[in-house]
Subunit: 342 residues, 2 copies
Amino acid sequence: LIIDAHGHVSIPAAAYQYQSGLVGGRGTPPAFVRPKRLANEQLAPSLESHLANLDSRGIDVQLISPRPFMMLHSMRPESVSRVWTAYVNDLIAQQCAMSGGRLAGVGGLPQYRDSSPAGCLEELERCVGELGFVGALINPDPMEGECPPPPGLGDPFWYALYEKLVELDVPALVHSTSCCSPRESYTLHFLGEESIAIISLLESNVFGEFPDLKLVISHGGGAIPYQMGRFRAWRSRYPDQEPFDTALRRLWFDTCNYSAEALELLFKVVGADRCLFGTEAPGTGSVLDPESGRHYDDLRPVIEGLEAITDEERRLIFEGNVRALYGRLDPLLESAGRLSRA
Amino acid sequence: LIIDAHGHVSIPAAAYQYQSGLVGGRGTPPAFVRPKRLANEQLAPSLESHLANLDSRGIDVQLISPRPFMMLHSMRPESVSRVWTAYVNDLIAQQCAMSGGRLAGVGGLPQYRDSSPAGCLEELERCVGELGFVGALINPDPMEGECPPPPGLGDPFWYALYEKLVELDVPALVHSTSCCSPRESYTLHFLGEESIAIISLLESNVFGEFPDLKLVISHGGGAIPYQMGRFRAWRSRYPDQEPFDTALRRLWFDTCNYSAEALELLFKVVGADRCLFGTEAPGTGSVLDPESGRHYDDLRPVIEGLEAITDEERRLIFEGNVRALYGRLDPLLESAGRLSRA
């Protein structure tokens, strides 16, 4: 099986129309806030197009979450993020149910500016318990580039969320959302926040407090696998700490960075056993690379073509690691008859 | 010649004592502000130790600038940055004069929070005209992580400075300073600011307006050479723009990132002809790597050992590129008799 651990839901225009009313009214009046459920027929075209995209990339199963840059975590008042998140999670659940086991849900959380993530636990429980999702997103900067950002992911500020993730036994994908700063696009902000998240976590006692916490860092880990030298050097000043390379392997990483040379470096630095195949397709990489004649997010042949990893490592990246990490995925695959077919 | 394009000055305790009075008094009273010049004998021990460090790394010549994380660009009032910057520039000039042509100066600029960089032109002229420096530092975030940061380097906000750099024909090294955010160390902030600087510049018309502007990005370019795929994909959506790989080669990069696998990627992605040898020694990497038994910043043997580049490329990285880019360096080397010895 080829399992893409990093995908985002495709939703129809009617859903954006609903969002527009929600944003325009900033959470009022109630008639705008109460979402009208979309019928399966309304979802079918965008779902079909999404699945056709997976077909063209050779992807069997994809984990889908809300599209991060549209999550509105910093928009006032709080009800906007809360209502929109639940609405999108419902659409994800509906599409997963329609997909014949090709899609599994990763829930968005109604994070809001610098509020405690404790306000997200109820929706997280609903995602896993009622909607059957296999994981969740964590946005390390729900202020979306405004000041001051919340504490880094190593801070006890986040512990209530970590506790619930461990209790429910679901991993979280660390993925920031938009960015309100005019000097930094959301894509750039992703990379900065991933770097900050990694260092904050590894300099903290989070994995001492929560040894079973499973965190995946998006997009190959921002700058860190490329900038290992600087962090190795800092760690080497404190011989009582584990080496930086060892510490980094407490985290997982996805391959969503669209460059063969970078993936080769990622696998070498963090190890293929910590990497999950991820394409985000359809998304940022869904455009033809004039050099290769393939889409940038058509990463399966890229990884299949890497000579520096073994076939067993490839199997881990494409399937083994994600199934081991996302423990709630196998029962879904099994009940859809997708494991026997593999 | 082995020329290190990225070094920072080593100064004696007496200089820090002066800084402490300047910071404590926040620019007053005048008796604290007017620096006492240090005698050559007071500078000799730290200079000797610095040069011994270069010897141990096999470095013949180093470009030295103020130590960025100590530049105080966001500290109120403005006079702190202004006085401290001129003081350190003077110490650099004094050490260069004492070094027998082994050190060349790269000036700090008295940037201050969100003030226009036009306030730095006088000190830049003094650095090049009076102190004989070969380049300057630009800090893209003199707010040092406070909000709001100044516009990105692609914004006309910076044009007065670019105009003066071109007029004086000196390159600038893009290098942020400290970071006041508790979630982000200055080292992490370097990397984020480098990524933001690259994308801001390449999405702007700066090189259309200033075709002769020479900008070097520190530490191998933050996250960008590793995250090329995402930016290639965005560019491919606009076929009227030059490809991202082409655009990136309008900039120069230094090797100050202390990891062989990352340098291999950097040379492959941006080309050895855009890369300058840089170690920052003594600095972040001046600690023993327990794996290799060498210091992390002992990069000369690392680059000498890379099989993926040719000897001619190695010569460009170690010497050719920096001499071509920093046009005021050759006369200094020549008058010190360092070119004939090579």
